[in-house]
Symmetry: C3
Subunit: 427 residues, 3 copies
């Protein structure tokens, strides 16, 4: 994952354009990706697909002859979707088009003007304050004209057409944790899920531009989204070593939310559950708009917007680590494994009393149990008694995991053995 | 409010009588008050309106010739509703008619005998213990005979006949926090509500004798109370600087209870929410009797019965302050403003995804948001996104305020702007 | 209770056999006990009644001529349901049949082989490690052949056939807290309930072998159990001075669970509520199997399995105390008294406002109440106001006790007085 982040880092992505296609082509090397090109001008709900943007070069040459804010030095220097400009102006006029972070004077901020034609530069505040007075030559060479917006999808079919949606975004220029980590973890997760035998759910992975990409995908798949999506997660900022964070889906108590609580609660890593906030985050805001209200949450480490280098040139590949990515991937995969385990519903055949276990080779005949300090969660008999009591047609394995502190894999295994012994039926 | 308290303080009020009419006349100087006179003997549910009481004078002259417990010195000296007496007796007999607080030897207690004909005096315990032995001349000059019970009502009509009830009591003799503060805050609140433009609710303010007054008002307005009252509050002990206190209505989760939680939680003042207790408090006990079960709570500062000078001569105008009254008035008014804001129900016209805001001049095109430390609750875009997501036909603005930490006025303003931009409809 | 424990301690009980009949005969001295003999081979749900076991003697004689692990010294030395054996063997072979607790080297563990024919001994680990090498003579003289399993029942009829079930077990050899304390408290509780006048509920006490006894009783009384049992408790480990513990019934919120919460919360003793766990405990696991799901919890002091001498020779009569037993008995009896109080449902005749109490001699006419520090829970007027407000047809006395902090006996008494005064009707 770290290598993929480093490889994708230099590319200048936006809502549209060649950088996005190049990114999707690299993802497609390890994922069976289908691309969609949506023409500029297409209406998607309240929105319109914008013109395609191709940045080529940009710089400011000062009265001292020094070239500054060069696009080729850092693609964050150029305002996202900036139009072309080529002329001289005084410092005062130039400053109206320069964006900085006064409280972070050594970081270039990430600034865009997606839906209003404008030009501009972003730079370090320290550099801006050192600009000498005088005449500046401003050159921006871009194209912003009808074309298309590109996104990629990959589906891993399961036994049913109930779908799990994994969504991440591909629209940020050079930033590592906010954007590339999600791309990399999604690609790795795709390969893990591809190797799961006998999947109950189908899995749909989408790599899309943030906001308008999600809106476009939902517009194109409106009925499908409402009828088929059983669970989902957006991946964002999953590469640093901040605490594992699940932002609840809008409904807050769906199966995937409960699974996230369970998996995080048993994780060795720091973790937290945060409520659904419509004002902040990523595409879970679109999936969780009231017309869809899908069971899709957001998995992150540090929360978007809450780490220092967020949306700046400080968000480099140094910020993300193998360990950070691995913790996110493991969590996402455990959530999916739990979802799969919970797709089988067992029920006691005769629900009266405990069954006789020793005659079914389910327990040893002579044993010393229940001594003080005895670790019950590790005892297969304990898992067995939980499933034999609570597989009553009203509780699924997730309910039992929540009630019992017994790990989900132990419950799933106990239920399988009880099923083989003729004590449980599959509903 | 402080001036009104001081002006009303010397008057001797009871369930009935000239002191009550004088009090209501003074309230009527600033409030458009309609008076009701209910004749003695009228049956109101399980109760009967008592005879009217007119106290004129009372004193005890001792063997030393000293006059004590004179009604003209403090009207708490005379047992409320005491009958007349004029005779000599020994100290022993006299003591059976004298009430004191042994644990507060310098305070005269407030004692009444509303429903059993009796005579008596209240005095400081220190004074009682100093009474010399010998013969005493006891003189009480009162009238207790058929007349009527008086109460006042003032209605401020709104667009609808759904009503908010503001109730306080006018039956205590010289006590400031317990009684006069409620009268004063209710009168000031009346004037504030009168100046609110375009009220959704109608507002009914009642100044009544405690318990029997509330019972009489409910008996006279039984169907009206059950059908029209949408919310209400009793005001009691709202003049000191104790923590703002909302005693929940009997149902505990009505709109006005939730609003009280919200407004208090965001108050700068100390505050607390207490459960509904039927055994203690004021007229919320009658409004919250099972046959009515109205959404009416109790707003107070110090809780009735829980401050040291409660129901004694220590409850003087010195106990209440301009700041104490103002905090109560502000809270009650904010609760009403929140209730009014929440009377409009908005709903997304097309609920799919977030609308495009920049093309509707609802947000700036270029902006740097979501930096660490950014104060989201102050951002109009944040309020806008909350209402655009949660105005789904299932949540009202109060729900959103509870979910979001965004202040109600910001939500109301965001909803208005989104309505003007054609994104929300009014249900 | 202590005396009964000491008298029963030496007897060797098991699932079946003469020790059980002897135990039930002793219980029957103070309880009107009906015995059931269930033949070996009878099928009860998934189980079969085992053969009857009669142990007579057992010992190991070593190469040094010393007799060890003698049944006559401690009946825990012999593996429960061990078959007979009489032969010589080397130490190595013998050790395969010896059970010890390495972490408690001075305690003999309680070991059984109920459902697989085997022989064996239990001893102190320290003693086992000192066994000299060489030839051993092993002698076990038992009978294991068709007979019957015995259990006892005693019913105290009430006004209705709704039943309260009190269950405890009689299958452990010499252990005091785990087994005998339950037998003793159940017998004492039987006598207390027998002396309660005018019982609403009928009370069924059962003394049964653990697990298979409960399963057999449920099999024989399947419809009765489902239709008649209104509440119940299993008694186990109720003789030590550990904190009073109520393990919730499977449903967790039944009337008896709520009563346990209430009674324990107001107990002077340490106490705790634990969730229903199907993997650990006593016969509440059978009563709480999904096919029955009865409102039956477990009352204990120390929790079975969680005290040091549990299931060992350390669980002697010294471990249980008069105070320990008394605290359990008092708690169980208060729970039953609360259940009886709550069986009468009162309702206000006219639910509007508070009734006039002074004219019904329900309160004094002149009083000084509500002073700071006033103890409201001790005031009969407080209890009266609670029942007059909340006896609305939706709340029973238990609801009111939970809401109010007023003790149940005070509420029951207030409701009776209000009923006599014509304010409440019995539903």
């Amino acid at each position: 994952m770290q290598a993929l982040v480093e490889r994708l880092y230099p590319i200048c992505r936006s809502l549209t354009g060649p950088g996005n296609r190049q990114t999707l082509a690299i993802i497609g090397e390890s994922v069976d990706l289908a691309l969609t090109e949506l023409p500029s001008g297409t209406e998607v709900f309240d929105w319109v697909i914008p013109d395609e943007w191709t940045p080529r070069s940009a710089e400011i040459v000062g009265p001292d002859g020094v070239a500054r804010a060069r696009f080729k030095d850092h693609n964050l220097h150029l305002l996202g979707c900036s139009v072309s400009v080529d002329r001289e102006m005084d410092l005062a006029e130039l400053l109206e088009h320069i964006y900085t972070l006064p409280d972070e004077p050594d970081l270039i901020p990430y600034v865009v003007s997606y839906y209003k034609r404008d030009w501009g530069f972003a730079m370090k505040d320290r550099e801006k304050r050192a600009l000498p007075p005088g005449r500046y030559r401003v050159t921006i060479d871009t194209t912003l004209e009808p074309g298309s917006m590109t996104f990629g999808e990959a589906v891993l079919p399961g036994r049913t057409d109930r779908e799990v949606l994994i969504s991440t975004y591909v629209c940020h220029p050079s930033m590592a944790n906010d954007n590339l980590s999600g791309i990399a973890v999604a690609a790795a997760l795709y390969r893990l899920v591809a190797s799961m035998p006998d999947r109950h759910y189908s899995y749909r992975f989408i790599w899309i531009p943030e906001t308008i990409g999600a809106i476009a995908w939902l517009a194109l798949n409106q009925d499908h989204a409402k009828q088929k999506i059983a669970a989902g997660m957006v991946l964002s900022c999953v590469g640093d070593e901040g605490p594992l964070t699940w932002k609840l889906s809008r409904r807050g108590d769906t199966e995937i939310d409960r699974i996230a609580r369970l998996v995080l609660a048993r994780s060795d890593l720091d973790h937290r559950i945060t409520p659904f906030l419509p004002a902040k985050g990523s595409d879970e805001r679109q999936f969780g708009s009231p017309g869809f209200n899908l069971p899709v949450g957001l998995l992150s480490r540090s929360v978007p917007g809450e780490f220092r280098s967020y949306h700046t040139s400080g968000d480099t590949p140094d910020l993300v680590t193998a360990e950070g990515h691995a913790g996110s991937l493991k969590t996402a995969y455990e959530m999916i494994a739990t979802l799969e385990s919970n797709s089988i519903r067992y029920k006691r055949i005769d629900p009266h009393c405990e069954p006789m276990l020793s005659n079914k080779r389910l327990i040893q005949s002579v044993s010393i149990r229940n001594r003080p300090g005895y670790d019950m969660t590790a005892d297969p008999l304990v898992a067995l008694r939980w499933v034999l009591n609570y597989c009553d047609g009203e509780h699924d394995l997730l309910d039992i995991a929540e009630l019992s502190d017994v790990p989900m894999p132990a419950l799933a295994s106990a239920a399988q053995r009880a099923h083989q012994a003729g004590l449980l039926t599959i509903v």
